[in-house]
Amino acid sequence: MSEPAVILEGVSKGFAGLSRPALTALSGRIQAGMISGVVGPDGAGKTTLLRLMAGLLKPDAGGVRVFGRDPAEEAGPLRMQVGYMPQKFALYEDLTVLENLALHADLRAVTGADRERAFARLLEFTDLNRFTRRMAGKLSGGMKQKLGLACSLLGRPRLLLLDEPGVGVDPISRRELWAMVQQLAREGIAVVWSTAYLEEAESCDEVLLLNEGRLLFDGKPGAFTARLGARSLHLRGLAGCRRRALRRVLKFPEVSDGVIQGRSVRVILREGAKAPDPAGVDDADGSPYWVPVEPRFEDAFIDLLGGGPGGGSRLAERMRARAPTGDTLIEAESLTKRFGDFAATDRVSFSVKQGEIFGLLGPNGAGKSTTFKMMCGLLTPTAGRARVMGLDLQRSAGRARQRLGYMAQKFSLYGNLSVRGNLEFFSGIYGLHGARQRAAIASMLEAFHLEPFLEVRTDSLSPGFKQRLALACAVMHEPDILFLDEPTSGVDPVTRREFWSHINGVVERGVTVMVTTHFMDEAEYCDRIGLVYRGRLVAMAPPDELKAAAATDARPDPTMEDAFIELIRRHDSP
């Protein structure tokens, strides 16, 4: 093999004010001609690593060599050889596509005939020729990333650093981006693709897996998943409630992790353990049985971390049970929201019954949050109606909102208050006081493991604990309906499982949950999902039905993402 493009030797980097270093003693190599994935949950240190390679940061200890040079000290000679696309686009939203390219060309001193040739090549490559005069701010998420990619490719870099290019991109554009990057790798460029989506790791040639600043694995993704052997199983043939089945399965000592996948429960067995007898797991008269399945990258990751969090929910245990009524609690009737000539939500209709988990699934920017905000009365619909418990929340009295819990997409608690301050405030405005308030706060602290952080400023919590606190503040007053907007974004896979244990638990208590997510696999937990694509509700059904509807001869057992892409294709060309 040729000389590696990047060599990392024992690299450490910390930031003032953070309790643990962003990176600890990391060593690895990035090879030319392949895609190297820097994979890990948010806060794992991915961006820090990329910025170190781009020469924007200096390591505290250890060395970084890019093409044999120190990127921080010898930025000049490396500048033309390294392309860097930051996580938040390095684009000027008020400039057109062409002006953005010209700006980056100026910065990289690509001029004259070279510039003409480079623009023609890159616009062709990214298929942006039709949009050269459009403002960058008005491009879709996918097109923005393509433009960002084009800008970082000016000057023909030999090393391309892409920080989470898959975020905010719909599945189709994501595949197009992958195809582009794969072509670049074939041309001999060393591509670094960082991602929090563990399934993207499977498409990389090499993977650096990070968690909390430490390197967990370095090598081919297949080698990582192969460690699991035949320990990934599906429990099929369930007739009863799959949420209760999951909870029972997770009680087996042999099982280290489990998630719901459509009608099945997917589990990982502990090393050396045999699959337990599934009889008694189903609460109807089904006959559950184990089927070995292909292990996923995420399975191996969870297994490496010591398994999932278990299936219990202390939160649900303290909640009172609501009698099932079968009422329709949430209803959208050709809900539409236009901003100028752009329809963020376009004639969306759905209804959710009591005790159901209804999910809106789609990439960032598809219109999920807009729909969500209209349901909660935070946005006025341009047309159509949004009703919760038969009421328009925008006009309803505070009494109706008392029965609601809401968790916003962006972290929306008071960062300058302590954990206790936030809990006291939110319980206070929901009318809890005295002994009831103290009891509610105590049980939240216990359910979400927040006791050690009681007096900590909320700003300085890790992303996972911030989300836990946000959920705690949303459920403290025991709402009947929970609106959760991307509750698991920015959360590591283990905490995501914990969240879903809570969500599953409260639904068992008769709470109704409406949730949005851009994690395709999370949709599997929902009773029904609506696929949202460019403001439209493209399909709505239980997850298994959606997957079955999208099955083709070539792909008889599609993943949720396959199903999404297939259903969008059919929607676009009926």
């Binding site: 008392q402 916003a408 929306s412 008071y414 006291e424």
Partner: protein, 371 residues
Amino acid sequence: MNTLLRLLALIKKELYAILSDPKSRKIVVLPVLIQGVILPLAATLEVKNAALGVRNEDAGGASVELVQRLGASAAFTRIIPLRDEREVASALDAQEALAVVGFPADFSKRLDTMDPAPIQVLLDGRRSNSGQIAAAYIAEISAGYFAERAGAKGVRGGVEPPVVSHRYNPNLDYTWFVLPSIVAIILTVSSLILTGLSVAREREQGTYEQLLVSPLTPGMIMVGKGASAFVVGMAQSTVVILLAVFVYGVPMHGSLALLYAAAALYFVTLAGFGLLISSVCMTQQQAFLGAFAFMMPAILLSGFATPVENMPEWLQFLNEANPIRHYIVILRGIFLKDASAAFVLRHAAPLFLIAACTITLASVFFRRRMG
């Protein structure tokens, strides 16, 4: 009861947020210190050590004696003799003299014969404020001189010239005049900034939506935000009042109860403006600029530094809508002359009207901006 408890939770949070954050703590503490300490020193309204031009065509002794008396006052330490009109013009033009006094050729003669003896006073219009004060000094000194001469001659039936004495501020001590206004300005700044930024800050941080989906109504959110800023504003005013009375020795003639009642009313008026600004702004930066766009002209037109009576009539009319203008009148009244409740009420009436308008508008926009 339940509503009140929810409101209390909100107020407690707001106060904590203002006082726990070092940045917003600075916004609360620094202006009080800076304005309380620096403004009284810098915003001097006295005329001291100024130069006075004298164009004397009179050959008699009276004009000379009057000039000596003018020169002996603390206001004018330098007398510039000017020979002709050209020198008069250039002395004023080059700002060598703040004012020029002109004595006509028959000045002494007229005085001797007890005819009216006019003096001409030319002022530098660019320094109209100090000029007016200087003119008042000149009038006072010459009136004293005329009275003395008339008395010495034992003129029968001579009209007693008016003796100017400044009631309520006998020594024309400018700190007496400035400090009550500073109470007004500090209350203005803090109420506008605190209420103006509070909603915008929540919008920026994304916490506003979390409030809107809670059982709190927009009205309760407004009251909660207003009340917490009110507590802070009152505390700040108290500091300046204490500074005024105990450090600068401004007499506090009026009733404290009236003073605080007026402050409370004024605060509500301003909080209306602040919440209005807040409800139409998306970011703290916008709110800040919005608050200043209101505050600068409002303070300049308030009569804090320049007399309202000198403004053009149409501006005086517009100024009726300026809450600071009314509040300063009330404050000076209470501080310096023990204004009666009736006086305060009369000047508070426009404030009631303005408050009703701003609060109504703010609550309308508050609701509308939810969509």
